[in-house]
Symmetry: C2
Amino acid sequence: MGREHSDISSNRSWQPNPALDVPLYRQIEAYIRQKIITGEWSAGTRLPSQRTLAASMSVNRSTLVTALDNLTAAGMIEGRHGGGTYVSGTGWHSMAHASVPNWSEAAEEGWYYPNLPEIQQINQAEFRPGIIRLGTGELAPEQMPNEAFNEILRNMSSRTHPLNYIEPQGSLELREALSVHLQSSGIQASPDSILIVSGSLQALHLISVGLLPRGSAVLLEKPSYLYSIHAFQSAGLKLSGITMDEEGILLGHLKRAIQSAKMAKSELDSESFPLLYTIPSFHNPTGSVMSCQRREELMSLARNSGISILEDAAYQELWLDHPPPPPLKASDQEGRVLHMGTLSKAVSPGLRLGWLVGPVPVIRRLADIKMQTDYGTSSLAQEAAALWFAGGHHTSHMERLRPELRRRRDLMLGLLHRYFHDIAEWEKPEGGFYIWIRFTADSLSIRRLFHACLEKDVLIHPGYLYDRLDASHIRLSYAYASQDEMERGLIVLAQEACRLMKPSV
Amino acid sequence: MGREHSDISSNRSWQPNPALDVPLYRQIEAYIRQKIITGEWSAGTRLPSQRTLAASMSVNRSTLVTALDNLTAAGMIEGRHGGGTYVSGTGWHSMAHASVPNWSEAAEEGWYYPNLPEIQQINQAEFRPGIIRLGTGELAPEQMPNEAFNEILRNMSSRTHPLNYIEPQGSLELREALSVHLQSSGIQASPDSILIVSGSLQALHLISVGLLPRGSAVLLEKPSYLYSIHAFQSAGLKLSGITMDEEGILLGHLKRAIQSAKMAKSELDSESFPLLYTIPSFHNPTGSVMSCQRREELMSLARNSGISILEDAAYQELWLDHPPPPPLKASDQEGRVLHMGTLSKAVSPGLRLGWLVGPVPVIRRLADIKMQTDYGTSSLAQEAAALWFAGGHHTSHMERLRPELRRRRDLMLGLLHRYFHDIAEWEKPEGGFYIWIRFTADSLSIRRLFHACLEKDVLIHPGYLYDRLDASHIRLSYAYASQDEMERGLIVLAQEACRLMKPSV
């Protein structure tokens, strides 16, 4: 089902025109034939199910079947054992030609891991009309600073733009603005030690292929956002999760993990040192904040054990009640911490704008790889971001955003209390976007809950995306859904959870 | 020298202030100490040479040496056998701590290949003030459509922006505009079969990790742009170069390469089919155009032998005298051709905006990987690009651009004739940016010519970037340098070439 959706369903689907003189099934036949002949639906492509196709074309299933039968008779499509209809690779094509490229097989070949099926489904479902997104980790469109961006665009429209290739580390104007901005969190970083990236996911990707040898260990909190993406695993790195308590990662566990990573390392005969990936402030997905004392102890453990730290500060500024302790990078005296920041969470994910702060040799190395990956981040995005900081928009936006997010958090907490108090547990987050819900009934399958909600157009993020062995959590976000959607969605969620918890199901 | 430059030289360099009461060497000492203490210059970082540092700080070398001596005495930096001064990893640091992360070593560890030293030098040198860029493959700033972009930005400043995450394949508005645009080159592609990428380099990267199994062969023209980047090699693919004549890739050679790739494949027990990467129109670096007949024969060979084709159409529209034959994709009836396009060459490289057209399963697979790499291309860039096409800017820009590029090409040809007629050979290109120059004297070392010109602030692209064994070519571009720079740069080039050709050198 995942594959089918990811193959050829479209967001804006074609429909036959009843006003035409040509029968509907003929129009459908011609449409599919055209797709196959031009190679858009290449040999081996799986067609959506008859139900899905008929619905998207707004025709009776029998009309569709007539068209499909004709195409099957013409050798253009074929049913397969095990179900599914596929574009034929051996029919009309091979009569004329020696062989036809089977891109569907090729698409299985590359070594980069595909996204988890659930992630692919989430990525697709997020753009489905009418879907209620209860887990989405981004601001709702109405919270985006559209007006500020329009002011920036007006400002830009009378400037000369850096439309040529820009410097490997990113535009100096933006790096200078960021250097000033970072001082507000206590980080001293010259423009030389900053790399502009297309969002923090790209920073992770660059680090994984540019700094860490294959087979080396990356330590991280468990659960963690990092488990939900493949950047590190696709680069051949091994994730080693460390248990957390309410003050953050447990240092005793971390120490033991460092020991075993070092032992594995000596077998690998590698010069590398273990890296710890951590989200100290408003952790994704748990929402927790690493305490001040834990941060100090972590930095001291890092010094003594020789590990480096990759600090993901995506939510650092999104505090709601009071600011979190300063980032780890602020107390870093020896270039031990790589610090990642982004505009995706607090401002605009679509802009694709993030930064990485670290020792100059690291930044230069990663800049070189970035140049090989995409030749730098879009100059328009960089120009807009530089004006965003330099024009003071960031400060005023954060001041407007915090009360609104606080209102949303409190709303969701109230709804949770009303509908979930007897079936789940959670902590009140002090910032970020997320509430990490634990369902107390062992009998509830989170996987089934995810699919049942999706059937009812409610999208949640299952906890096992962030910890493969997790069987009881989901991640909710109060950032995206509207007040009305939040209430409707949570009611569906509670109903489905209760239904699935019943032993009879 | 490459490493040193790539380590810590800056474009806008710090200088001590003679007006202060503190001696210059003390200011320098404090500056470097600060860099080391904050970890920006981490343990193992190589300092620029004394000559370079003294020049960038505008101080006497003796002043600098005093500062460096003090820092050495403090254990913060150290000379090493074999030359070079490095930030110490065992001095003041280790007195306090067990171990200090040596990021410089880590930066050697990742498996992604660094850029070739010459490419790194070119990337850095391009931003050096006063440099004459005779090889740069991009339009000069004054040819960029600044006015059109300002109009687009004004238009955008009254719209609501897609500031949220956008669909995996890219904005539908842009894909619809591209679907219309592609029809002008005879390509029928629905928005479903188009993937928006951050420039064609990213498309190459996605294909290399998403479609091709490690160890598989990629056939390509020799020389080729693809040899100058590492996207494919870093993904473990083997490049196999095919000789060209003036009508394009030689099909007899191609046939033999397909045979041996297939034999190697059966050893690998892989289901993959060989892929041919080609730039049929205004090839980079040779500027040649694949003839109409060769294109037909190539497509027929591809059908009969089962290979797929990756068509790089970056220069397709940049014809100067008359349009080239239609792209291979236009005659593709079975989804055998992946077609890459970009705004980087004809419009703006800084925008980072390209597209890939192909069978839907391939496009979906690559979109999924792109989501894992950078979560999509910047929405601002996509919005601007959509308006660029929809607003008719593209057509009028191309009409303005062609005469200007024609003028530049003819100017360079004239200068070449004047200064190089007895030492080199070349063909007149009918489009694109490049003239592929062959020096006739065997005694000339292109590597030495590159470095000698760089010393004199003239940047050329050595032919061995595009074919490791090439010993006689350089790539010139008439797109970037101004008329005055072109003449001054070519005179330096001719002088240096003559000097280095002499047996005594």
